[in-house]
């Protein structure tokens, strides 16, 4: 476009030029060259004219004070904005600022948001500005007198990656002299507000921005805080997906060679791949680096590769991977045959390397060139030096013999695209016999909605279905349940249009198929599903409980128990039944009884909480980032624990997409990492959560209304802790922010909930004890790259592992010796003392375990001996 601006602008510009340039800045201030750019006026006018018109909405509701006990409640009188007005990357959007406040305990609280018309809030994805309430969105932490402690990178979703915002913010303390943030465009020197507060805003998500904050204090000391950094050995995905990493270690399993190492590639979790359930798995490859300079796998993986191998690729885009491990005598690696030759870095820890290419690349076109330190050059045009997978018996009865066969080259599959989501789902188990379809069971909705109905039919096994080995059904009885509208059976959806149900399509909630023999075994199979009015509400109200199921073909007189007087259930021609009850049944278990061959059978409780009573009610609470039902945590006997939403004062599970409420927690804790420490840590942490959506971790397709209003991330990260009695407070530093929590209640526990998942970066806890000491502990982060703060404990060194194995071996030998030879007074004691010596386990089991430990010790010693005898041959640990 080339339209002239209004002439009056030139005339006014001449007036300013007549004045001369504004007076120079003071001396000593750094100058920069301004890049002269003539910006098309229409482009800017277009920006201004197309500027999203922002509506003023109602303030977001304040969190409930009882949910803030652990995290501290900001005092309203202490609230003030820092006045920093950090510009949004889009100049038409309101600026950003930090809201500062204090708690009664003297902690500093921070929240980030936008400022519009003097109000602090957030412009939602719907372009409506809503004020942010005090508390809930604030992180309250202990401010140190010097150095930054309150720092974070808050992320706000956008309609696209560029519309997302990473807001780097913090309180550097009164002793701060400067704050510089390093991001994609280089350094930003930030203006400091009260208490050394700072804020700056980037487009994109924190995993893309990876900001680094450097605070310099008045004494010249420098403190660096890096967000979303990762020390994992990783490479970028060719299509912009999550990075890939490769891990390697010595193979110390039975039958392994002393100089054998293994490597495995995996894709990290990320926004496009939030769940490990769907992540691609690649086979672990092993080779002998004492015999050859490297081993390498060069393979194409396509959707559905690796089914039934233990390493399914899943319905993920095809990739060609080159990965393996190199001995230290390999100086460098380069890969050619797919675009320009590229150098492949070698991780000094484990010697692993990886290249990830688009799946169209044929691995047979690749050449891996290794330059050795002695000057020689080796080339590889196919997978090389790979041993058969570990634990593969070479011969009958010689499971611990060395494997001598090299792995044959895997065939190269033809490239294919991932299947559309619907086709990628498992094939339904049945093919309906349409003449058997019945829809005669209809019940009025006690909540005043449309009538509910059950559709049932008989079906034949679907030949495309995977029933697993040993299971061959012959006929099935199937059901679907929903409400009826315009002659269609529909399943409610809280986040959109209801789902239409049809025989042969999705079974829906409460539906499914069963074999007649399963019904005969149990008498009846039933499910109770409770729907709430608004799954996103703080206190969702149960509307109805739908009970449906199938009765054994020879059973009669079905009754619904637990909902007042026993209720007779009508059966349709396929022996299905349906009842719709008002609200929800927490305390009285619902059951089905029936008469079979003159005998009364009763099912187990439907939808009742079956865990220990101690885990039914929460001991600590935290607000949900979207303002929905708060989260609760309960710790019970035997280091058991439970986490879930709080509904009616109990732990529950909410399936937001379908608007369903389940009794019982969303997640269970197992009590630590099982490392059996003699002295317990001050706090036992657990981290749970993941993407929202289906129980299998599939992400929801569209943000729910609260996320649209608050621009919160999908999924949750929930950190819980059980603290010893002498713990006063726990300060958690996460990739999001720094906040201090105080354990409470008789169990001395706490919970904190963040929106989103921390795909990169570690979580650490600084624990303040009553005697004045502080202890620092790492907190597991299940979504971080493997080995980096993940739930997997770091691999011990060889020497540590050997000491532990030898201690275990000695103990087991003493145990077996006592059991085999007895002790004083046990000669005629019979099996009693012997079983006691074995901990109740059969002797044969203990002896088998002893042999395994002996093999581990031998492997440890063999590896250590090889490393000592051949220094520099194998990669460092």
């Amino acid at each position: 476009m080339n339209e002239r601006p209004p002439a009056v602008l030139d005339a006014l510009g001449s007036e300013f030029r007549r004045l001369g340039e504004p007076r120079r800045p003071r001396a000593g201030i750094t100058r920069r060259t301004l890049l002269l750019t003539v910006v098309l006026a229409l482009l800017l006018a277009g920006v201004a004219a197309a500027a999203i018109l922002i509506a003023q909405g109602s303030p977001l509701p304040a969190p409930n004070a009882q949910d803030l006990r652990a995290s501290g409640v900001p005092l309203p009188a202490s609230v003030h904005l820092a006045g920093l007005d950090a510009p949004d990357p889009n100049p038409a959007e309101p600026p950003w600022d930090i809201r500062l406040s204090r708690t009664a305990a003297g902690e500093t609280c921070t929240a980030v948001g936008q400022v519009l018309a003097g109000q602090f809030g957030i412009v939602g994805l719907d372009h409506v500005f809503r004020a942010l309430p005090l508390g809930g969105v604030d992180a309250c932490g202990i401010e140190a007198p010097d150095g930054p402690v309150l720092a974070g990178a808050r992320v706000f979703v956008g309609t696209s990656s560029q519309d997302a915002r990473t807001v780097v913010n913090g309180v550097a303390g009164a002793g701060a002299r400067s704050v510089t943030v390093y991001g994609p465009e280089g350094a930003r020197s930030l203006r400091l507000g009260p208490q050394g507060s700072f804020i700056t805003v980037y487009p994109g998500y924190v995993e893309e921005v990876r900001p680094r904050v450097v605070v310099v204090t008045r004494d010249g000391a420098s403190h660096t805080i890096a967000f979303a950094q990762s020390s994992a050995f990783e490479v970028a995905d060719p299509d912009g997906g999550s990075p890939w990493e490769v891990s390697g270690e010595a193979d110390l399993g039975p039958g392994a060679y002393a100089d054998e190492d293994c490597a495995q590639a995996s894709q990290q979790l990320g926004r496009s791949d939030p769940s490990r359930f769907e992540a691609s798995l690649t086979p672990q490859v092993c080779g002998r680096l004492g015999q050859q300079p490297l081993f390498v796998s060069m393979r194409r993986f396509v959707p559905s590769s690796g089914i039934r191998t233990g390493f399914p690729w899943g319905n993920n885009p095809a990739r060609t991977l080159v990965y393996g491990a190199a001995a230290p005598r390999v100086a460098s690696l380069s890969l050619s045959g797919a675009g320009a030759p590229r150098e492949l870095p070698i991780d000094p820890h484990g010697g692993v390397f990886i290249a990830v290419l688009d799946g169209h690349v044929d691995p047979r076109s690749l050449t891996l060139t290794a330059r050795l330190r002695d000057g020689s050059v080796l080339t590889y045009r196919r997978s090389s030096g790979l041993l058969e997978p570990p634990f593969t018996p070479v011969c009958e009865g010689c499971a611990h013999s060395h494997r001598s066969r090299l792995l044959p080259e895997a065939p190269v599959p033809a490239y294919r695209n991932p299947l559309p989501a619907r086709e990628a789902e498992p094939a339904p188990p049945d093919l309906p016999l349409m003449r058997t379809v019945r829809e005669t069971l209809r019940v009025k909705d006690p909540a005043g909605g449309p009538e509910w109905a059950l559709r049932s039919w008989q079906g034949l096994p679907n030949p495309r279905a995977d029933f697993g080995s040993g299971y061959h059904p012959t006929r099935m009885l199937c059901t679907q349940v929903g409400f009826v509208e315009h002659g269609r059976l529909l399943e409610p959806r809280a986040d959109g249009a209801p789902l239409a149900l049809s025989a042969g399509g999705e079974y829906g909630v409460g539906g499914g198929c069963n074999e007649p023999r399963s019904l005969a075994r149990f008498g009846a199979l039933a499910e109770a599903v409770t729907y709430v009015n608004n799954p996103y509400a703080y206190a969702p109200r149960p509307l109805r409980t739908v009970v449906s199921g199938l009765l054994a073909l020879d059973a009669t007189h079905p009754l619904l128990l637990g909902a007042g007087a026993p209720r007779p259930l009508a059966l349709d021609a396929n022996h299905a039944f349906l009842a719709v009850l008002p609200a929800r049944y927490w305390d009285v278990p619902l059951r089905i009884s029936a008469t079979v061959k003159g005998r009364t059978i009763t099912t187990r409780s439907l939808e009742a909480f079956t865990g220990p009573a101690a885990l039914e009610t929460p001991q600590a609470r935290a607000p949900d980032p979207d303002g929905g039902a708060p989260w609760g945590f309960a710790a019970g006997p035997g280091e058991s624990s439970a986490t879930g939403r709080i509904v009616d004062g109990r732990l529950a599970t909410i399936e937001a997409q379908s608007g369903i409420l389940h009794a019982g927690p969303e997640g269970w804790g197992s009590g630590g990492d099982g490392q059996g420490r003699r002295r317990p840590e001050p706090v036992r942490f657990d981290t749970q959560g993941g993407p929202e959506g289906s129980p299998l971790g599939q992400a929801a397709s569209a943000p729910p209304p609260p996320a649209i209003e608050r621009r919160t991330l999908p999924g949750r990260t929930i950190i819980t802790g059980e603290a010893e009695a002498d713990v006063v407070s726990v300060t958690l530093a996460t990739p999001r922010d720094v906040r201090t929590l105080r354990p409470s209640g008789p169990a001395h526990v706490f919970i904190v909930v963040y929106d989103g998942q921390f795909f990169r970066g570690a979580i650490t806890a600084t624990i303040a004890l009553r005697d004045g000491r502080t202890v620092t502990e790492p907190v597991p982060n299940p979504n971080a790259p493997l080995g980096e703060g993940s739930l997997e404990p770091p691999s011990p060194s060889l020497a540590t592992r050997l000491r532990a194995d030898e201690t275990t071996l000695a103990g087991m030998r003493r145990q077996v010796a006592r059991a085999e030879h007895g002790g004083p007074g046990t000669e005629h004691a019979g099996p009693g003392p012997r079983e006691k010596a074995l901990g109740g386990a059969p002797l044969a089991q203990i002896v088998s375990g002893l042999r395994d430990i002996e093999a581990s010790v031998a492997a440890d010693r063999g590896r250590i001996a090889y490393v000592e005898a051949h220094p520099g041959v194998l990669p460092a640990e």
């Binding site: 003071r26 800017l44 006018a45 201004a48 949004d88 372009h127």
Partner: protein, 179 residues
């Protein structure tokens, strides 16, 4: 800090966009021109104190000044010209063609159409003033005559009506002042 010698480039780059910004919020090309000029006058006077070297930072600084000027106009019903007077700058008179061009660039015709449907939210005096000025595009003198008030009062009534309408019509306003 901003370097000397850049203000002219800054003006040439930002002036039209800023003019459109004001026009869409005042529905008046002449008022928009006055506000734009006053804003740049403030920017000229405060140029030595500008922090930030990136284009985005300078834009944000300019628009912060702009929002304050706009809020004062909406409160007082007139454009303050303090900075312009201090600099001795006379705002050039815009030709009718320029005014029409400004209105076109700002899409005022479409905005007026949208506004007319929202006038029911206002008090009767404000509604009448806005209807005359913005929807019927009458001059302030005509508005004043029709309403039986002074021209100054007519301007004030229009500006207050705009402010009230802004909240209902999703027009971004900023008082610029925080407590």
């Amino acid at each position: 800090m901003a370097d000397a010698g850049e203000f002219d480039s800054f003006y040439r780059r930002e002036s039209e966009a800023l003019l459109v910004f004001f026009a869409r919020r005042t529905f008046d090309a002449e008022t928009a021109l006055d506000l734009m000029a006053e804003t740049f006058a403030h920017a000229y006077l405060g140029w030595h104190g500008l922090r930030g070297d990136s284009r985005e930072e300078r834009q944000a600084w300019l628009y912060t000044i702009a929002r304050r000027r706009l809020s004062r106009y909406l409160l007082r019903g007139r454009v303050e010209r303090r900075a312009l007077r201090r600099l001795g700058i006379q705002t050039p008179v815009a030709h009718e063609d320029d005014l029409a061009l400004i209105e076109q660039r700002a899409g005022l015709a479409q905005l007026r159409a949208a506004l007319s449907g929202e006038l029911v939210r206002l008090s009767a005096p404000q509604r009448r003033a806005l209807d005359l000025r913005i929807v019927q595009e009458r001059s302030y003198a005509e508005v004043a005559s029709d309403l039986g008030i002074s021209e100054l009062a007519a301007r004030a009534r229009v500006s207050r009506g705009l402010r009230a309408l802004g909240r209902a019509l999703d027009v971004q306003l900023a008082t610029g002042e925080r407590s």
